[in-house]
Symmetry: D2
Subunit: 266 residues, 4 copies
Amino acid sequence: MILSEQDRKHFIRTLTPGGRLQTHRGILYHDDLIDQPLGGKVKTHLGFSYHLLLPTTEELIRYLKRSSQIIFPKDSGYLILRLGIKPGTRVIEAGTGSGGFCLALATFVGDSGHVYSYDNRLDMQELARLNIERAGLLHRVTFVIRDVEEGFDEEDVDALFLDMLSPWDMLDQAHAALRGSGVLGCLVPTVNQLSHMIGSLTAHPGFGFVEAEELILRQYKTVPARVRPEDRIVGHTGYMIFARAVVPAQEDTVDSVDNSNDLDET
Amino acid sequence: MILSEQDRKHFIRTLTPGGRLQTHRGILYHDDLIDQPLGGKVKTHLGFSYHLLLPTTEELIRYLKRSSQIIFPKDSGYLILRLGIKPGTRVIEAGTGSGGFCLALATFVGDSGHVYSYDNRLDMQELARLNIERAGLLHRVTFVIRDVEEGFDEEDVDALFLDMLSPWDMLDQAHAALRGSGVLGCLVPTVNQLSHMIGSLTAHPGFGFVEAEELILRQYKTVPARVRPEDRIVGHTGYMIFARAVVPAQEDTVDSVDNSNDLDET
Amino acid sequence: MILSEQDRKHFIRTLTPGGRLQTHRGILYHDDLIDQPLGGKVKTHLGFSYHLLLPTTEELIRYLKRSSQIIFPKDSGYLILRLGIKPGTRVIEAGTGSGGFCLALATFVGDSGHVYSYDNRLDMQELARLNIERAGLLHRVTFVIRDVEEGFDEEDVDALFLDMLSPWDMLDQAHAALRGSGVLGCLVPTVNQLSHMIGSLTAHPGFGFVEAEELILRQYKTVPARVRPEDRIVGHTGYMIFARAVVPAQEDTVDSVDNSNDLDET
Amino acid sequence: MILSEQDRKHFIRTLTPGGRLQTHRGILYHDDLIDQPLGGKVKTHLGFSYHLLLPTTEELIRYLKRSSQIIFPKDSGYLILRLGIKPGTRVIEAGTGSGGFCLALATFVGDSGHVYSYDNRLDMQELARLNIERAGLLHRVTFVIRDVEEGFDEEDVDALFLDMLSPWDMLDQAHAALRGSGVLGCLVPTVNQLSHMIGSLTAHPGFGFVEAEELILRQYKTVPARVRPEDRIVGHTGYMIFARAVVPAQEDTVDSVDNSNDLDET
């Protein structure tokens, strides 16, 4: 449940009998909220009012408990479409981070799909697990603690997302885990990484259709007489790079065999 | 199925025994493709090769048959998150258009959710129906031909999306259809509409938490030695405006009740 | 003179015998600086080093003393080109503000051109005058305190720039001051103003060739191994609108003449 | 002179007695235009009307005869400010290209400044010379044909602009030509070049205060009832990189002196 007020303070809480929420403007008692209609106003013991709202996936991600940079909703939504995520999809992500994108993946794969989330840091993954559990999605996610360069346990996954410093080190492992035509995606913040990843993907025989993109989000002030873009915005989060797993060309193998057969037919 | 070649020609086809696909570089016979591995190369009768790929939702939208402007994937993905769409969601859209966003909605609501899509033009909706049918999602969508100002048949829907010239004319009808705290979204191309819609939403007692945003997508050339943003990009699609359905303030109701009680004090 | 250090603290000072500059890292004595080579390092009494640099016009504007929002260099440079400013140009601006754009105008009109700067607030213009004086450009600027709706004293100016809340109120006055084909420019922050100004300019018989634009500046971090856009940027300053003064169509004049002749002198 | 019509066809011509201009809507005779007021309408022999306008610097650049990519006005204006160009400035550019930026530089340095423009291609520079001559600015520009890696003839110039494939090859030469605290600027299209140039500048003892930026220009449709950004825009021209010439740190010199003193151990 999210409680939100016009001044944009948000609290995301699961309502429990006897629970209480201490806001900066007084206390709200969960028992008073449980029977209230969604979208209605509730008041703190000091008389300030909040709205009772059900959070969207975008809000769950935006207000996640985090100990690291998360993938912003502007990027998450597009990544979901680009990676081909939908109910039933099996997808790997490395690494887990605070679990923001994991939450988006787990939401959209539904009960018939599954998310395999790898990270080498236990503390990070514990936080992510907590975030996913609170969203009621824990049954859709398998968490694995591992240095991902050792590879993935799954095969034939539909999509694989790399959120790590050197995604180019993972191309063989990613190709081994992806089904043919599956989508590889990654997000990197610097142009150095963008350039390096494009180079590695282009040179790898197991990937094709390399594309790179970035999204810039502009928020607008919504005062009716003075509508205008916000003065200060997030200018950059990262570059998204995509490729498709392809079957490495047969000819190359055949060719080399042919060549080795060239010897003296006489 | 999508057949795609490095020069970025795409064909999205459902493979059927005996079928054939005429490309600009020769013919591909469906029977030859059915047993091929995904991600592998196939050759036309002229010897040109294509890759056999399974399309992502992003590709299904991008290469949709269309007779009107569609909502771009960059916006669709973010709208899905912002509208709170997920497996199980019930959502209304008005109007249907060519069905691009309908396809995204139908994908993500899963079999447990549903899309109600309204439009006043039969020809448009027939095209959308065809696009949704091809994607195998027809059972998740109810199409309605209607001038939407007459209102919607559904109640307590989780989200409602307006893609029309004068979305401000639909606020009462939208509020009647949405559950409390449900999300209203719309997309408008001009600043005149942006300003008008923000004004109407702000003034309407049944909506709160008005926000407006736009997304700019930049594609990058992926030639490894010369990575750079594309010279020409789509500079604008539309402004996205969001609000939440709230219970109108009690005072208003009380006031009207008071007024109606003013009679017979005699 | 500008003194600048790698951590980007700047001080713009005119060096005077006996002067001293108190930085947050110690004192610099002007007498020690006067003979130093430009681009060289100088040290404070605490041993911290600064570079001695000559400021560019961009830096003079960026580090101006200000009591109001200034026009950013990203916009100033483009406005200079678009307004057709060059050595010899006569240009009016209304209002003066803190004098940032006035400084740019005064720089580029040279000694053979002139800037006429109007504002209705004496305190603002005093600050601007100080800023222009420090830049040594006072002889190129005439300051006028006036409610600009009363009109301008000049005629046949080459360009006229409006930086005010309701620039559409000034179109007749602007047309009277501009030479034929002269450029009118303005900068407004909101879409409401953008839309209003475009409407007024389009309807005015004395202006043609209306254009509107905005510029987004992205700074990049310059750490060689991690080049990337800054996380947070200025997302918006304002919309620039331009038009050309044209001779109103003959027909209109003829009409008014006809009307004024209606009285039969018999 | 520029002749312009509401449908945005432009012709930039110097009016000469007896001259004629063939437009796609009929002929205009220069003799008929010479006495017309600026901003007024003139008619072709077919009765179509054009406006007689004096071109701005922005228009001179935009409609330049070109055989290569030019630097766009959005970048030129900002570069002028950032490079510290103003009446009196001495500036070097390498290479000349079609002369678009040369025209901007020559405009703003005035008669008291000067532009030294280097290129290794005679054909390009001949075109640039023609463009500068038409703008009446030839006396402010010295053209030099040279492979710029051989260095520049000038010393103590205020600013130096590099528009070439490998600007990092020119840092020693640039430092030798610039006065202390002078501004080095360059424009490069790819992230590879951006990253390379930042690395080279950062490592060079003769440069400091490295900054990198890019500008995105959005044009708006100016139909009053439907104001909106243009659908398709220029998404990228180039990255601008700036640095200041500094006096290399004393220590370095001392070190080399020490080393050169290592002889005569006998």
